[in-house]
Symmetry: C2
Subunit: 585 residues, 2 copies
């Protein structure tokens, strides 16, 4: 149960698998030398380990509590939040003009992983604030920026995103919240929003709500949605007409208040437009990449913490003999337990590699002097984001479940704390676009980017990693290169199949989820090999990264061919009268 921030692993993967080292040579990280990066991640790791991680269990037991419109967070949360903002962690990414530190996305990604490992419920609050800061920076008027950005960047105030309504989840076209022009440039908002993370809490005096709503004369569907800023406390100090009507009783993240927010019970909540009327969804898209990457990092974070717990237990717990041991051996010596633990380690590292690579591509897209390079990097990041989000959160759930299994009966007892990881992780494949939505995004929007050139370049870069691995002839890599080459072949084949001119949308969509997993196996395996090659080059140490790359390639990436088959030959089974009979429709 003692979390230790994996600072060395994070820095190593950033440098190698994520390509930060290469990007630095290109000048992408001109303002961030390696020592500064290491110092920042180390400092964040210490805070996550010492201050945030101890909140997790009590936060789960106590939960966020609701009474009379107010929410009380668990003991220690508000204090930790204040220490965290005082240390400047809220402003890592934000523009220096608004009081932020203007650090690269790669640094934000590393710190985001660390807070979420410490306590997912704690890390959610700043995650939402960050999204709002991005949207406001990109789209709000100068007046709104001046009024709200400094306090959001310092963390003196927090922010929320209000999208979902009971009838409008994945499908925002169905949303009904209303906004009317007040005549003075402001708007009056009314309606109910659900699942609002930290919609109400006791961390700060004010909460800035970003709300999607429709104007009276707006067109139907997604082109009639506008984005508004409606603070809990108005500039004149009065309470706005928005209240928290309750918090959900959830499977996990108990310390994070998931609020039902009611706007306009007394004439309408005062709000101001962000961006243009009816262009609210475009504003949301601005922050989507970072938000989805952030949730992917939550998956990595929980997987990391679950793995640490399982490793610690498996080294201590003695059951059964192994390798001719005298008496019972630590269960880590049993091949089956070892397979579970290596799976946990390798999956976590693969997901981390993909997430951090997306972060570096975002940084490249922002820093590159050559617009063509910037565009290509942006497209590469856009391609990787749905994979980073969906694969990493699936990994979070799978690894947390394996962690319970490693603990045996103890894992099922709540006091042990590892069942909580499973409960906490389970939200991440759902929110910020379900993993099904991510797969659809990958297949329908990301594969066609740059006429397919983006994915072609990505696959070529995966092949390049494998080629370099094969050239080492290092026996420690086992069959990693050939197994990974097969996975990439399978990916290539499935990609071409989806892109074929004759492909119907329904056929392509039917295989979207196995396709995303297939992509992740190839990209994750390549990330591990990239780290392994760096370890081999360094020529010292016990080659633990090489072992992970080999394990992943030989035992996990081997699933690629079956996934490719589901993509290219599995769609037929989903349709028709027989399939509908099987589903009772």
């Amino acid at each position: 149960m003692t979390y230790r921030a994996p600072v060395t692993d994070i820095l190593f993967t950033l440098e190698h698998a994520a390509g930060l080292g290469r990007a630095r040579e290109e000048g992408v990280y001109a303002d961030l030398d390696a020592d500064t990066l290491a110092a920042v991640v180390d400092e964040a790791g210490a805070f996550a380990t010492d201050v945030v991680a101890p909140l997790s269990r009590e936060g789960d037991r106590h939960g966020a509590r609701f009474a009379d419109g107010a929410v009380t967070t668990p003991p220690g949360f508000a204090d930790a939040y204040r220490r965290w903002t005082a240390a400047g962690w809220n402003g890592v990414l934000a523009d220096e003009a608004h009081g932020g530190q203007g650090l690269p996305v790669a640094v934000w990604a590393a710190t985001t992983e660390l807070w979420a490992s410490g306590s997912l419920a704690f890390g959610l609050c700043p995650m939402l604030t960050h999204g709002a800061i991005e949207a406001i920076e990109a789209h709000a008027s100068e007046e709104l920026k001046e009024r709200y950005l400094p306090k959001l960047v310092s963390g003196e105030w927090t922010a929320t995103m209000n999208l979902t309504e009971p009838q409008a989840g994945s499908d925002l076209a169905l949303l009904r919240a209303k906004a009317e022009r007040a005549g003075d440039g402001s708007y009056r908002i009314s309606g109910q929003k659900i699942y609002i993370t930290y919609g109400e809490h006791d961390f700060t005096d004010n909460i800035v709500h970003l709300v999607l709503a429709r104007l009276p004369d707006a067109p139907a569907g997604t082109r009639g949605i506008s984005l508004f800023l409606a603070p809990k406390v108005l500039p004149d100090g009065s309470r706005n007409d928005v209240v928290c009507a309750g918090v959900e009783h959830k499977l996990g993240i108990h310390a994070s208040p998931t609020c039902t927010m009611v706007y306009g019970e007394n004439g309408g909540a005062v709000g101001w437009l962000v961006g243009e009327e009816n262009r609210g969804l475009a504003c949301m898209f601005t922050m989507m990449n970072n938000a989805r990457l952030g949730v992917g990092l939550e998956g990595v974070a929980i997987a990391e913490r679950a793995t640490q717990d399982a490793l610690a237990y498996a080294r201590e717990r003695r059951q059964g003999r192994a390798n001719g041991s005298e008496g019972a051996a630590p269960i880590i010596a049993h091949p089956d337990v070892r397979r579970m633990l290596l799976t946990m380690r390798a999956m976590t590292a693969a997901a981390r590699g993909i997430c951090y690579r997306a972060a570096v591509e975002i940084d490249r897209s922002r820093a590159a002097a050559d617009p063509a390079v910037a565009k290509a990097a942006h497209e590469r990041a856009s391609l990787l984001i749905p994979i980073a989000k969906a694969f990493s959160t699936d990994v979070g759930c799978e690894v947390a479940s394996l962690g319970v299994q490693v603990h045996g009966g103890m894992g099922y007892i709540e006091e042990t704390g590892v069942a909580q990881h499973m409960r906490d992780a389970r939200i991440t494949p759902i929110y910020e676009g379900t993993n099904g939505i991510q797969a659809i995004d990958l297949v329908t929007r990301k594969l066609p980017l740059a006429d397919g050139e983006t994915v072609r370049i990505e696959i070529a870069s995966l092949r390049d990693v494998v080629r370099r691995a094969a050239e080492t002839n290092a026996p420690e890599l086992g069959a990693a290169a050939p197994r990974l080459a097969e996975a990439i072949d399978a990916l290539d084949h499935a990609t071409a199949w989806i892109a074929a001119a004759s492909r119907s949308p329904a056929e392509a969509l039917a295989g979207a989820t196995p396709y995303l997993r297939l992509f992740a196996l190839a990209a994750g395996g390549a990330a591990l090999v990239e780290d392994a090659l760096a370890e081999l080059r360094a020529g010292e140490g016990a080659l633990g990264r090489v072992a992970l790359a080999r394990f992943f390639a030989e035992n996990i990436a081997t699933g690629a061919s079956g996934l490719a088959r589901s993509v290219t030959e599995g769609a037929g089974a989903l349709d028709g009268a027989a399939a509908e009979a099987a589903l009772g429709i």
Copy 2:
């Protein structure tokens, strides 16, 4: 949330995939015609639907409560238990000589699934009583049988199994509970046992504990363990020296009291030997097949209920357009959601087919006149049991998790009820031998049965199903036959690899878990095809079973080749200094 017992599916799968029809022709079910079978399952289905299923949610919310050594079960549980025993359901399997109905294991299996679907926490109590009845029938003295069996069979009393101690879980060699000879033929037992299901409750006046303990002069290890019967209330009406010291706070099955039992705080709990001294583990083996099958059926049960909930939600919930729908379509129309639902249906049906086939083999082993047939059937059942237990419980977890995903944000809210399925299911891969232990049992004890003839016959029978499928040339089966043939080839190859004389135990154990999964994909796929062939022969209806068989073969069994590769080429990555570095040892 409305559970409807899947009586038609159960009867169909028993008859075809499980081979009950064929066994009936052999005379295995001489005392049970098809109508009687159908009537019993139908009646049990009605009870599970009307009486047991409504307990589930409130049981989870309320939980079993402990105070002053007593356990209070949630509202309605004790009453439902009494109605259930009054209806005679507790005695389905037990010998008629002791008041049971002496029905076949196939019937017990069907009813076990139904109670567990209704409420896993409820179904656990009789599951434990059944195990004790089996052990007492097989090994206890006539006096103990007379004193305890009638009331255990009627359900007037319940029973428990006391194996685990804090330091002794999977490794019973480490157990320390003591038993001393009292000189009058009885024993005095002392020690602490943990994780005792229904160790204390308010259903009945007495509880019969079966306890593993060591005699003072017993040899070390598993050959020094004896089995004792120690009732809560002694024959003279006095309380025995055994108390419940507390109940665990668990991830799920909240309504099932998981007790810490303390024996002998006041001189020793009175107990009587069951079987011979130091032969306690052999007695446990007697009931192991049924107990493990029972837990496998719990996996099927939860998967079934989770699937019903997800299907109902997906037919109602409207989000996004599909197939050019006017306005939002039910999400079941979206290919990605449909893939999840078909996966849930197909995995559930495959696990059910494997479990019920094991049940029919047990019945054949008991009823066959020819000892060679009986022996072969017993070995076949023994081969299938670890697969039935481990695969079905993994399926329970995976399907329950998919059910949460289908529900989106709603799935994460406890009130919806589907997160409970996930929490409840998570214990089943752990108890009654972890799934890792099942895989080791399969590879080390079951593959060598009859010099490998048992597994050879099993694989040949899978091939026979595929051959018959291919011969139909039915277009509705799609590529089911070739895909399944490939899965069986992969299984055959992996089996030969494990059996090779040169194979070290460590190599074989390293691939045990992927091997078990591989076996289940082939056997589960064949079970679905067997049902599909029966549906095709009947020549009527909408061919839902054909669709499931096709979906499973084309989309799930396609994972077989990757699993075979993990078995035959993955072991090297688990060992050596690099792997140990990766695990921090």
